[in-house]
Each structure stands twice: as structure tokens, then as C-alpha cells.
């Protein structure tokens, strides 16, 4: 699932500065699940913005709504007329949704969220990045633990010298976290695949990652005649 954060209210208010009539459009997929942009967040954010603007003496007219998935035109289409009746759309979808709406409509589409990563639900209210979408998966060799996503240096042959005695990484954003390669080593032990650790990975071909420019996938057999 795509995990996103809502932008700070100050930034959102700044984006909305020029407008008096705006559609707040949520997305009921990934960002609803990660509690950033579903219909509930639309309601909360709209209420906050209305209050702030009223306080500034510049009331704003907000229409609230949410679509099933903003990354599909078909779900957005029923909203076409409504969108065109507004000066701007504040999209509470991930960046994909914002792009999608922008491709279709000649109205400014503003992002309410910062799109962060692909994540798993660690527990309710906590999401963690475990896959980086590099396009070249090696999880079968690393005991199902991805060193690209979970090692701060994306090392393929770890651990590095930054591992501490207790098995944590010297890079600690959001508190101490385990070294991905220590985790891999232990996991391989459990699976009786310790020998994998002796594999020396060749330098990674990053062309499948986004460093080779925007990626696109085509399934010829599923294309529709146009």
C-alpha cells in the first residue's frame, strides 16, 4: 500500500490562498487505509480549513467528496462536472491521484498529502517501509527481508561497519532500528539458508529503478483496440 502523510495545515492554507471555491476530493484506497486521505480525513480537513478561513475573514466554499480510486479515470469521471464548477481541487490522494486528475482536468489540482513510501501495517497507526520498488527483486535470497529498502545504504553485501554491538544501525531515523543485514543473517539461520550469506552480489543494475527515468509497464495481450 502507498503510505502518505497529510501536509501541515499551514502549507495547505497557503496553497488555497488564491481560491474561494474548492473541491476537497479524497481517495478511498491506500490513503484511506493509512488514515491520510479517506472520506473521514476530507471531513476533518475541510472543517479545519473553513474555520481558519473564517477566522481570516476570507470564507471559503468547500465541497467534500471521495472517490474509490483517483488513479483511475473511470472513478473520477462522475465528478467531472463538479470539478469544473470549482476554482481548484485539493486532492487527498497520493501523488498518482494528483497527476491523474491533472492530466484530465484543466483546473489546478493541489496535493494535500506528501506521498511517502510503500508500506506494511506494523500495527494500527504505524506503517513501515519494507519495499523500495527497485524493479529487480532478490527477496528469495535474503530471507524475505529487503536490503534495498531496509538498509540505509541499500547495501547488497552487508553489514557495513555502522552496525552496533546490539545489532542496530548507526543511522537511526525514528529511533534505533535493527540492521537489515543482521536481520537477514538471523532469518536465514531460521530457514537453514545461512549459506546464502556467502553469496557475493554483483553490483546492482539500477536501470530497473527510477534512475532510468519514469517507468512504464505494458501488457500487450491486455491492450484494448482503440
Amino acid at each position: 500500500m502507498i503510505v502518505a502523510d497529510q501536509k501541515p495545515i499551514e502549507e495547505i492554507l497557503q496553497m488555497l490562498e488564491p481560491y474561494r471555491k474548492v473541491l476537497f476530493l479524497g481517495c478511498q484506497s491506500c490513503v484511506a487505509v493509512c488514515m491520510a486521505g479517506g472520506e473521514k480525513e476530507v471531513g476533518l480537513l475541510a472543517a479545519a480549513v473553513r474555520l481558519a478561513r473564517k477566522q481570516q475573514g476570507r470564507p471559503i466554499e468547500i465541497t467534500e467528496g471521495a472517490v474509490k480510486r483517483q488513479c483511475d479515470d473511470e472513478f473520477n469521471e462522475p465528478w467531472a462536472q463538479t470539478i469544473q464548477q470549482h476554482e481548484a481541487v485539493l486532492s487527498l490522494a497520493c501523488g498518482v491521484g494528483v497527476n491523474k486528475l491533472s492530466e484530465r482536468f484543466d483546473v489546478p489540482i493541489l496535493p494535500a498529502l506528501n506521498t511517502r513510501f510503500f508500506g506494511e501495517v506494523e500495527r494500527q497507526g504505524v506503517w513501515a517501509e519494507v519495499c523500495a520498488g527497485c524493479g529487480n527483486c532478490i527477496l528469495h535470497l535474503t530471507g524475505g527481508i529487503c536490503p534495498i529498502a531496509r538498509c540505509a545504504k541499500n547495501l547488497l553485501n552487508g553489514p557495513c561497519g555502522g552496525v552496533r554491538a546490539d545489532g542496530t544501525c548507526e543511522v537511526s531515523r525514528n529511533g534505533p532500528r535493527p540492521c537489515a543485514w543482521v536481520m537477514i543473517y538471523e532469518r536465514l539461520g531460521k530457514l537453514s539458508q545461512r549459506q546464502n550469506i556467502e553469496n557475493i552480489f554483483a553490483a546492482k543494475d539500477w536501470s530497473s529503478d527510477r534512475h532510468g527515468g519514469p517507468r512504464k509497464r505494458v501488457r500487450e495481450d491486455m491492450l484494448l483496440e482503440t
Binding site: S29, V33, E39, K40, T63, E64, K68
Partner: protein, 1058 residues
């Protein structure tokens, strides 16, 4: 059986115990007469401010129960009544009741208080019973704001009309309802009942009798119950802690424990609850006023119940409560300041004098004087302490068949134990009266519900409530205003909306004007909403098409000096109510059939008792035990007779099916309809049942250290108990042959390996010098008190002395937990020469060996010196631990465990044997450690609670519940993870769905659903927002014409707002 005639029960005493018993019985098919001595039910709990160990508000918990029992169709509350006599036999009793006059007709009284205001006594003159003398009342009064029945009462002892006959009787004139009636006389009448439950409670010990503390002489010496009232927000000082002498806030408060308890001059026993209620009072006082410095003087700190230890820890660490282990010898008043000088010997032995601003005496629980008189009239015996005598293995059975006793009438106990006993007594009555269940109760028939035709047609009834509302609010203009609101087709003023005439009139109007929504603007919905809902149901409307607006408590009463603004506010409140009414939808209630069988998990003492109780009540019961043997927890000598009896009863009971060597592989379903797969060596079997009772036990912990397991002379209390068992007579100890299938040789426990050697020595060879060590292994990781070990040690010490009076026995302890009547054992042991040595938690005793001589070294906390004892035998009390199987059960049943592995009940005070998930109940040591009688009461109670479900045949599901819109659900699992009742599941479409029977309508899921896919019936967003919009809509904005447009179209969810 022909003698069992009456499906009705008399419950004598309207405290929390009586109320719980009445509700349990009335909910399971029996008609109940709830007989209360005073003018209102509620008992002692109503007077408490908070309750330990959670410090929850007592009245907030009790009040819903009061309302529930007050309006239960199968409970008749008879106040100001006492029992004259009881004739007849179980199943067919005749009880004579004497009812004193109230001088107020409770069917007319609306508790407006005008009679009180008009009384010639212009000051409130007489001490209020409810305020324990700290507050005052008039001769005509309402016992307390939440009283049930909520009506005034005249006290003829103080009323001047009755005393002198000369009184203008202003009250009669003031009452607009004609409710006062001074011609009422005492009534004598007979009730026919099948059984009696006696719950008269206790009397707080009269502190005046403990002269050295000066209660009654010194203004600033209060009792614990009085201090509760000082803390209560509804008390005489509105919750401010103030000294009676000068109304100033006290800084230093001393609490003195054991006032009248554990005292040969007064009551010999321990009152069981005072240590905890004082700890609570000290914390709450500190929370009210941070300046307060509480000090507690005590002998032993008895924090032996679930969560108690933690509360004491918090009192010390977080609230700075000072505990001093010392009995105060004297309190003297300093005349100038009215401060109090306390003289005590501190823990180092030196004499101290300290000045306090206020002293609170922790008075104990004395036997109820009225209860003793009642016992005489009922022909039941009392024990040596003046409490009801009960059978050792049936803690709610009195000495007269068919008469059951419960609560503090049987001995000092706290609220949950009282509730447990109440449910146990109800269960015992159910078993007795099972053949006549449902013969005296009645269900009401309603006409078929009309289908609302869509467009709201709202009727608004604006109540005058005499002058209660009309005296302040211009009710006529409110009704006129209501007529202008969209959707309203009828609005009128009514003198008393709740009067019988008006209810009839309301039904006529509903029919004539084809109303499909009703709004009543009157008082709080707490008391009367159910009545109005019932009325519209009688007229064919769905009861959820009703909205109540409170323009009395929340308007006329609080704004009596601003009539114009009050009228405006009333209009606005009515406007909100009408706005919600427009959005109301009928909610359906479905019936779900109940499988009339029970599954009891755990075949120990509790499981057997629960199964037998259910079986006796007529319900098929599956008793499932993991091991090969039932009752393996019943080890000690004094319960072998009970064990044999139980095994026998279980074996022959026609309603019981025993599954030994059996585990539960799977449980699915919900209350009334569970389906389980049982797995045994014979294979798997699927059973259907309506309820589950978890009855796993707790076991003696296996100690480490102290040479345990290394030297055979070191054993546990349980092992000692076995060694002390006299050679059993065959009748008592051999298990009946037919039960042999349940009694395959138990696995030898490790400590048993040691026991035979000790046993081999014979009685005399246990040795002369014996040391018992309490609280072995009670550490940070296992910090709780196991409740039973001290009594066990005392019992064994006395047996050892009986066998050989020359023995020298030492008991090394931290706190002696001989609560209640166990105090007698403690005293007998001390009299018999047992030496008690207290040690500090930080320096536990050490056991070692020197040339085969055992040595116990202990630092005596009083002497502050190390003592070395050379014992022949060391006995350890290692405490009890819950069954490790609980973890698996917790996962299977989705019921919670605490950090120590004990199950967590739905509510620590009032639902002690229920789980939060409906239809699942708990008892046994795995709920909390307990003595045999305590465990029996809990098992009976769990069976009784379960029988309520089983006796119904049908359960109602639906009404105010949450539901998921499948179009919007993204299956994010938030609701599934959050639901406290396990009501959410993911259906075959992969979307969240809510099991109607399990949903309790709490609304957590509706509030948190990120996709806004969940709505709670009667509290839908559209309904609540409509109310808010009306509340904040400025008056000048014209009302929109009503267009019947319900919700936004699906998949669109558009809500335009400016």
C-alpha cells in the same frame, strides 16, 4: 416437585446485591418483589464517591442499574417495607410484609421539589441519612438526586404535622400534582413466593464506641463513609474537602485503620475492605486538592484483591500517600485550632506526636441490626459474629431451605464479591424454581409496525411539567414555534407528558394525524424515554422514530432567573430535536434463536459447580477438561468430601456431558449460537451451544531457591497439606467406581515427589520446629498478592499444633492477609504460640544448610535484627499462578488476559463474571485467586449469568447498532482491530461486516472508519450534523422548505456546505 408452585421471588434489601439478584432473576423468567427498608433503593454503594481499585465513579456505575431495575416489567419495588414473617416451604412461601406510609403517591410525584421548598422548616434542619449526617434535609425530602423511585417522602418522625398536628401544610398546597397524601396508613400484606434472597447488607461500625478517637466529640474527626460524602461532587460540600469545624481546607489528613475491627473490645474479625477504601479516599482527596498530605495508620496493609496492590503502589509513588505501620492509641483535640493530636509509636519503636487538620476513621463493617432482626423473622441462623450462617460449600445457602443469603449480610466483602454472591444466589433460586420459570412473568404484545411513508410527519409535545418548565419557559410560544418548523404537522402543550391520560392522548394523535415521528420536549430522557418509546410502539410506530428534548434539567431549572433567554434556548433545543427527527429512520430488531446448551471449559472445582448449577436449572451442559481427571485442583484434606460429592453428582446428572482429555479446537458464532469443535483421542465432535463459561483454575507456583527441590524438608504449603491428610476413610476418599473414567492417575507433580518423604515421617516426624515463609517468589514479575496463602498457612499451622502442641512454629510474612473471618485463625495461631515475624520486601529470608541442619535467616522488620532459626521443616507459600492454557483460550475466544495471565472481566465492580463479549462468562482461579467458598460463589454466579441467556429462547439483535456500507468499505481493518466486542468480521466479499447480535452500539468503529463507511443507527452523521446545523444557524436565516431528500446517493457522498 408439586410443591414448587410460585415463579416469583422476594429479594429483601435494595442495595447493589439485592438489585443484581433482582435483575438476574427478572431477566431469566422470574417475577421479583424487591423489598427495601428505606424510601429508595441503592444502598451503601449510592453513598460512595469512587470505587477501588479503578477509582471509577460509584454513582455513574450504579445509576443505570437503578434505572434498569426501576423500570423492569418483572420487578416490583416495594419501599419502606419490612418482612413480618415467612411461612411455608421452598417453592411455596407466604411472606407477610409491613409497609410504612410514604405520604406521597409515587405515581403522581414528579420529584419537582416544590413540597420541599414550601415546607415550614425554612432551613434544612434534620441530618440527612444519605449524607451520613454531614448534610441536612427537611421532613419532606427526596433521598438523593438519582433515587429510584424518584419521589418525595415524608418523615413522620420530624414532620411537624405528625408531631403537633399544627402545621399549615404548605406542601399539600404547593404540590400541583396532588401527590401528597397524609391519610396514608401502614399496610400489611402477603406475597406468595417460591424462594427468598436476603440481602440487608451491613451497618458501618459505630465510631462513637471507639472512645479514644473522639468521634462525635471532636468536630474534625469523621468516619470513612462521611469522608466519601465530602469527596462526592453531589455531597454537602460539592466535592470540596473542608473541615466541619471551620469550613477550611485541611492540609494534613490522618486516616486510622481498623476502627472497631480486629479488636477484641469491638469486632474480632477484619472488615476486609477498609485498607482499600482508605487508600482510594487518600488518593481521591489528593486529586481534589493537591495541598492535602494524607497519612494512613495501619496494622497490616491488606491489598489482596485483583488490582489492589497496584493501587497501593500508585498511592505511595504517584500521590505521596504516607503509610505508617502503627496503631494509634489516642486522638486529642487542640481546643484553639480544633486540630487533632495523634500519638503513636513509629516503626522504630519511639513515641511520636503529630498534629493533623482532619482525622478519618476507617470504620469496619458491622452486622446489620435490621438484618439480625430480619434473620429472626425469617427463621435463619446467624454465625458467632452476627452475620448470616452459611453452608461451608454453598456460600449463599442459609440454614433454612429456600432462603438464600448474599452480600455483606454473610460477612464483610467488597462490591464485586457482593455482586458475585448476588448472581450466585439468583442461580441457586433458578435451580430450585426451574420447573415454574416463566409462570409469573409477562411479555407485552404490540401492534404490527406501520411502514413510514417517507415524508416526515412530526408531532411535538411540549411539556409544562406543572410549573417546573412552564414557570420559567414560555411553553406556549415554544409549541407555536415548533409548528413552524419543517416537517411538523402537530404541536401542542401538555401539562404532564408522562401522565397516563396524556400517553393515551398521544396515541390518538399519532393515529389521527398519521404522525410518523414524535418529539417530546420535557425532562431528561434517562427516566422516561423508554416509556415514551413504548407508547409510540403501542400506536404502531417503530420505537426509534422518537426524539426527546430536555427543556427541564438543561433549561428551565438552570436558567430560572432568565425566563426570556430560557424560552429562546428551549426553542433552539426543540429545533434541534425536530431536525434530528426529520432524519430518523426506523431500526429493526430481529429475534435470534438460542441454542439452549452450555460449554464449560475447565473441569476443576469451578467448572464442576458451574456445570451442575446449569444442569440443575435444566440446561444441557458440556463440561470439557484437558486432563484425564476432573477436580484435580481439589487437593487438600478438607475438600475431599466435597470432591467426592461433586464427582458423583457430575457423573449421574442427566443434563451433563463430561469430555475429559478434550480440548477445544475451534469456536465460532456469537451469544446464543456458538458452534465448537471438541478434540479428544476419540476424534472430533462439533457441538452447538448458546454460552461459554471459562472455568480454568489457578495453581500453586513452583518455587525456586530456598533449597526447594534440593532438600526434602523444604516443601510447599499444598504439599504439607497433603502430608497432614489423615488416612482417609474409604467412603470419603475413594472415587466412586463409575467415575473412574475421569480419575485416571494424575501426572505426579514435582512437589509430590517430595511430599511422600515428609509423609513417610508420619505426623510426629514432621518435626518440632517448623518455619513457614510467605510471599515466596513474589517479585516484580509476579507482584500480585495470591490472597489465599496466609489463610492456608494459618490453617496448616493450627493443624500442626493440634497434632503436637509442643511444636514451635514460625511464620515469616510481609503482610498478614487474614481478611474477614480468617482473622480468627490468626488470633488462634498467636494464642497457640505461633511466632509471627515480619520481614521487609527488600530482605527476604534465606534458607541454607549446615551439616544437614536447615538454617533460616530472617531480618525481623520490627526488631531490625537478624534472627537465625534451626527448623526441622521449611514450608513455602509460593503463591498461585493462572493456568498457562489461558493463553490459548484467550486467542480462541478473543477474550483478554492481564499481564499476569489472569482473565479480565467486563467490569471489575459490576460485571465480575462476564466478559465484555456477550455470551462468554468466567469463573475459577484463572479469573483471580480465591478460597474454595469464593470460587464456588463465582462459579454459581457465572452459571446464573449464563442461564439468563439460555432461559430466553430468543435474543433480540439490532436496534442501535453499527452497519457497514459495502460500497465505501476498503477493508482497512480499523474496525476489526478496534471493536471491543469482537463484532466485526471480514465477509466473503472481503469487506467488513458487523454481527448484529454482538454489536453493542458503542460507535467506536463509526467514529474511526477512515472511509466513513460505517454509520451507527440513531446516531448517523446526517442526524447529528442536522442537529448541529440547527443549533448554530443564526435566527435570521430563513428555514429551508422541507424537501424529502434522505441521504446523498451512493458512491457519490457529496455534501455541499458553505
Amino acid at each position: 416437585m408439586s410443591e414448587i408452585k410460585h415463579g416469583s421471588v422476594a429479594v429483601v434489601g435494595g442495595g447493589i446485591g439485592g438489585i443484581q439478584a433482582a435483575l438476574d432473576l427478572a431477566d431469566s423468567g422470574f417475577y421479583v418483589y424487591l423489598i427495601e427498608e428505606g424510601p429508595a433503593i441503592g444502598g451503601r454503594m449510592a453513598q460512595l464517591d469512587k470505587t477501588f481499585p479503578t477509582n471509577d465513579c460509584a454513582m455513574c456505575m450504579l445509576s443505570p442499574k437503578l434505572v434498569e431495575v426501576g423500570r423492569h416489567p418483572n420487578v416490583q419495588i416495594i419501599t419502606l417495607a419490612s418482612v413480618e414473617s415467612l411461612e411455608g416451604r421452598p417453592g411455596n412461601f407466604q411472606m407477610t410484609i409491613r409497609q410504612r406510609p410514604r405520604y406521597v403517591d409515587i405515581t403522581r410525584c414528579i420529584a419537582c421539589g416544590r413540597c420541599i421548598a414550601s415546607c415550614v422548616y425554612q432551613d434544612t434542619k434534620f441530618p440527612s441519612e444519605f449524607e451520613v449526617g454531614l448534610g441536612k434535609r427537611k421532613p419532606v425530602y427526596i433521598p438523593f438526586p438519582q433515587a429510584v423511585p424518584l419521589a418525595a417522602v415524608v418523615d413522620p418522625q420530624t414532620c411537624i404535622f405528625f408531631k403537633s398536628g399544627r402545621c399549615p401544610q404548605n406542601c399539600l398546597k404547593a404540590c400541583e400534582r396532588g401527590a401528597l397524601d397524609f391519610t396514608q396508613t401502614e399496610k400489611l400484606f402477603m406475597l406468595e413466593v417460591g424462594a427468598v434472597i436476603v440481602a440487608p447488607g451491613f451497618d458501618p461500625y459505630d465510631a462513637r464506641r471507639v472512645g479514644e478517637y473522639g468521634f462525635g466529640r471532636y468536630a474534625n474527626v469523621l468516619t470513612g463513609p462521611q469522608f466519601e460524602r465530602l469527596l462526592s461532587a453531589s455531597g454537602p460540600t460539592s466535592g470540596k474537602v473542608l473541615r466541619p469545624s471551620d469550613g477550611k481546607a485541611p492540609k494534613k489528613i490522618a486516616f486510622i485503620q481498623c476502627v472497631g475491627s480486629r479488636d477484641l473490645r469491638h469486632q474480632r474479625y477484619c472488615s476486609a475492605v477498609c485498607c482499600m477504601y482508605t487508600t482510594k479516599e487518600a488518593i481521591v482527596a489528593k486529586e481534589h486538592d493537591h495541598q492535602i498530605e494524607p497519612t494512613i495508620f495501619y496494622i497490616d496493609l491488606r491489598a489482596y484483591g485483583k488490582g489492589f496492590e497496584n493501587l497501593v503502589k500508585r498511592a505511595r509513588a504517584e500521590h505521596g500517600v504516607r503509610y505508617i505501620r502503627s496503631m494509634v492509641s489516642q486522638v486529642t483535640e487542640i481546643p484553639e485550632t480544633k486540630n487533632l493530636l495523634i500519638r503513636y509509636r513509629d516503626e522504630s519503636g519511639s513515641l511520636q506526636e503529630e498534629e493533623f487538620d482532619l482525622v478519618v476513621l476507617a470504620v469496619g463493617m458491622g452486622p446489620s441490626a435490621k438484618g439480625q432482626e430480619l434473620a429472626r423473622r425469617l427463621g435463619i441462623e446467624l454465625n458467632e459474629h452476627g452475620f448470616a450462617k452459611t453452608s461451608a460449600f454453598n456460600p449463599v445457602m442459609s440454614t433454612r431451605e429456600g432462603v438464600f443469603v448474599t452480600g455483606a449480610f454473610t460477612g464483610p466483602k467488597d462490591i464485586p464479591e457482593t455482586v458475585v454472591q448476588a448472581s450466585a444466589a439468583a442461580a441457586a433460586v433458578e435451580a430450585l424454581l426451574a420447573p415454574v420459570r416463566g409462570t409469573r412473568t409477562h411479555a407485552k404484545d404490540y401492534p404490527e409496525e406501520l411502514v413510514p411513508d417517507g415524508t416526515p410527519r412530526i408531532g411535538v409535545f411540549v411539556c409544562h411539567c406543572g410549573s417546573n418548565i412552564a414557570g420559567v419557559v414560555d411553553v406556549k410560544s415554544v409549541a407555536e414555534y415548533a409548528k413552524t418548523l419543517p416537517g411538523v404537522v402537530h404541536a401542542e402543550n401538555v401539562l404532564y407528558t408522562c401522565s397516563q391520560d396524556n400517553l393515551k392522548h398521544m396515541k390518538e394523535v399519532i393515529r389521527e394525524k398519521r404522525l410518523n415521528r414524535v418529539v417530546v420536549a420535557s425532562c431528561t430522557p434517562r427516566n422516561l424515554a423508554a416509556l415514551f418509546q413504548d407508547t409510540i410502539r403501542e400506536a404502531g410506530l417503530n420505537k426509534f422514530l422518537f426524539e426527546m428534548v430536555n427543556i427541564r434539567e438543561q433549561c428551565s431549572w438552570v436558567h430560572s432567573d432568565q425566563p426570556e433567554q430560557a424560552t429562546e434556548k428551549a426553542k433552539r433545543l426543540v429545533r434541534m430535536g425536530v431536525a434530528k427527527a426529520r432524519e430518523l429512520k426506523p431500526l429493526s430488531v430481529q429475534s435470534v434463536r438460542v441454542s439452549p446448551a452450555a460449554l464449560v471449559l475447565g473441569g476443576g472445582l469451578s467448572g464442576m459447580i458451574a456445570a451442575l448449577t446449569l444442569g440443575d436449572s435444566g440446561f444441557e451442559t458440556h463440561l470439557v477438561e484437558r486432563s484425564a481427571e476432573l477436580g484435580s485442583d481439589l487437593e487438600s484434606a478438607d475438600v475431599q468430601g466435597l470432591k467426592a460429592k461433586l464427582l458423583d453428582a457430575v457423573r449421574v446428572h442427566p443434563k451433563l456431558r463430561v469430555h475429559t482429555n478434550t480440548t477445544v479446537r475451534e469456536i465460532s458464532g456469537f451469544v446464543g449460537n456458538f458452534s465448537s469443535v471438541l478434540r479428544s483421542p476419540q476424534g472430533e465432535e462439533r457441538i452447538q451451544h448458546g454460552v461459554v463459561i471459562v472455568a480454568t483454575e489457578a495453581y500453586e507456583h513452583k518455587p525456586s531457591g530456598y533449597l526447594y527441590g534440593e532438600d526434602a524438608r523444604v516443601l510447599t504449603q499444598r504439599a504439607l497439606e497433603k502430608a497432614l491428610t489423615p488416612q482417609a476413610s474409604p467412603g470419603l476418599f475413594t472415587v466412586p467406581p463409575a467415575a473412574a473414567r475421569c480419575t485416571v492417575q494424575a501426572e505426579p507433580a514435582e512437589d509430590e515427589a517430595h511430599a511422600p518423604r515428609a509423609q513417610g515421617r508420619g505426623e510426629g516426624q514432621l518435626g518440632k520446629t517448623i518455619v513457614m515463609i510467605q510471599c515466596v517468589g513474589r517479585t516484580e514479575r509476579r507482584p500480585y498478592c495470591s490472597r489465599i496463602c496466609c489463610a492456608e498457612a494459618l490453617k496448616n499451622a493450627l493443624t500442626l499444633l493440634e497434632q503436637d502442641p509442643d511444636r514451635q512454629i514460625y511464620v515469616l510474612y510481609r503482610e498478614m492477609i487474614s481478611y474477614g473471618f480468617f482473622e480468627d485463625l490468626y488470633r488462634r495461631a498467636r494464642d497457640g504460640g505461633v511466632v509471627f515475624i515480619r520481614y521487609d520486601e527488600q530482605s527476604p529470608p534465606v534458607v541454607c544448610k549446615e551439616n544437614d541442619q536447615l538454617l533460616v535467616t530472617v531480618r525481623d522488620a520490627h526488631l531490625r535484627q537478624e534472627l537465625v532459626i534451626k527448623p526441622d521443616l521449611v514450608v513455602l507459600s509460593p503463591g498461585v499462578v493462572p493456568d498457562p492454557y489461558n493463553e490459548e483460550l484467550s486467542r480462541l475466544l478473543k477474550v483478554p488476559l492481564d499481564s499476569h495471565g489472569f482473565f479480565v472481566e467486563a467490569h471489575i465492580k459490576l460485571r465480575p463474571v462476564d466478559f465484555a463479549s456477550h455470551g462468554i462468562f468466567l469463573c475459577g482461579g484463572s479469573h483471580a485467586p480465591g478460597t474454595v467458598p469464593e470460587l464456588i460463589a463465582k462459579a454459581q454466579a457465572a452459571a446464573g449469568r449464563a442461564a439468563i441467556v439460555l432461559s430466553r429462547g430468543q435474543l433480540e439483535a439490532g436496534g442501535i447498532i453499527a452497519s457497514v456500507d459495502p460500497e465505501k468499505c476498503t477493508a482497512c481493518l480499523t474496525c476489526l482491530r478496534e471493536c471491543p466486542f469482537g463484532a466485526v468480521f471480514i465477509n466473503e466479499q472481503g469487506l467488513a461486516e458487523i454481527e448484529a447480535v454482538k454489536c453493542q452500539g458503542c460507535g467506536i468503529c463509526a467514529a474511526d472508519c477512515p472511509a466513513k463507511a460505517i454509520q451507527l443507527g440513531q446516531f448517523e452523521d446526517a442526524q447529528e450534523l442536522a442537529m448541529l446545523e440547527e443549533l448554530f444557524r443564526p435566527e435570521q436565516v430563513a428555514l429551508k422548505a422541507l424537501t424529502p431528500s434522505p441521504l446523498p446517493r451512493r458512491g457519490e457522498g457529496e455534501r455541499g456546505r458553505g
